[in-house]
Symmetry: C2
Subunit: 223 residues, 2 copies
Amino acid sequence: MWRLYQFPLCPFSRKVRLLLSEKGVGYELWRENPWEDTDEFASLNPAGRTPVLHDPEKKITLCDSRAICEYFEETVEQAPMINGTVKGRAEIRRLVALFDENFFSDVTGPLLQERMMKRLITRQPPDSRRLRDAMKMAHGHLDYIDYLIDNRPWLAGSRMSLADLAAAAQISVADYLGGIDWTGHEQTRGWYSIFKSRPSFRPLLSERMEVIQPPSHYADVDG
Amino acid sequence: MWRLYQFPLCPFSRKVRLLLSEKGVGYELWRENPWEDTDEFASLNPAGRTPVLHDPEKKITLCDSRAICEYFEETVEQAPMINGTVKGRAEIRRLVALFDENFFSDVTGPLLQERMMKRLITRQPPDSRRLRDAMKMAHGHLDYIDYLIDNRPWLAGSRMSLADLAAAAQISVADYLGGIDWTGHEQTRGWYSIFKSRPSFRPLLSERMEVIQPPSHYADVDG
Ligand SMILES: N[C@@H](CCC(=O)N[C@@H](CS)C(=O)NCC(=O)O)C(=O)O
Ligand SMILES: N[C@@H](CCC(=O)N[C@@H](CS)C(=O)NCC(=O)O)C(=O)O
């Protein structure tokens, strides 16, 4: 049985969980706080980051969410998520990188820093200027998603793909942390509410990160 | 003809150049400074980052170095670089992520910031503490590469792969910027000197970034 090392607000772990669930791959959750830097975790992943997917019996360890997703795309036929022409696959991977890297460094990363790490570790109040900047950047990213959905049914084209899972994973963490103002983003809101009602997404929405509560609309399918 | 938007010290562009050259794919260089944030470049790549590979006739635009490498792996048989078993491919992709993300954020990124951006844009002197930290982190990464090469002929296993290209690309930029102290890293030095003599690598080593000069050993194959 696969064991996923993760914590509830890790967006990269959420992307992997969405993929595994869409593909019908079973796994158990294993709580790991990467900021605790334990030797045991470093020996599983020298990068010291979640997610890690580990199968103790088969002795396989997979690290890095994109490498993990490519692995299941290559081994499990159900629910193809990096599919289509080579050009279409490049478009999926471009968007995954955009959400994993730009959305994360502009929005989700700063929100996690200000609202989670400062609360749990340094016990400082969040820096309100950094929160405002992250929310402003979130608007820019949602504008771009609005534009994509104006032109295509799903973010990378005519079918749901890993690009949608990557975007939904980042947005869900940002939304949990109060960083998404949905005003004026009807297209993205509509696309996201379809996601929220998928069986793969429900378990994520019902989990809580200790001491940090999400806003009331967070788990609401019509929210 | 493919046109690669890049600047000489972009490690992700270097990885793509190594791959294209190993695969025998022709391209022309197009100088782009992503920090200038032009509208024209943003319309090619909404992430605003180099490398971008663009074919004006075929109207194809590829963004994100990993997406670009997967594209050529899927379309060009020569010199397979993400090859082997599914487990082996996951190992290649794990290491690519480690060099693209961890090595870059620990070493290459700070060196580019302190020695290139400050010189070219803000005209400030580099922060010597940040330089020292980056060089210390470089030691840790080279220790890990030493360990890999002690156990395998190439970084991800028995054959040269994208993991080697990703590592060599990052190291070459860090070395240009004086951030690599090779003392005590004989394994990595040996592996890297093989790279330096490859035809795919020679053009990179002879290019210069205006005003910034590399140390004397930089382009020396036995250096
Ligand atoms: N490229 C990695 C990024 C993973 C990542 O940044 N994870 C964060 C948690 S959300 C982490 O473990 N950070 C701790 C650290 O970087 O030391 C992936 O896609 O899996
Ligand atoms: N994931 C991207 C990262 C590219 C990247 O960070 N490029 C840097 C130059 S080395 C850049 O364009 N930075 C400008 C910015 O982030 O705005 C890739 O692999 O292509």
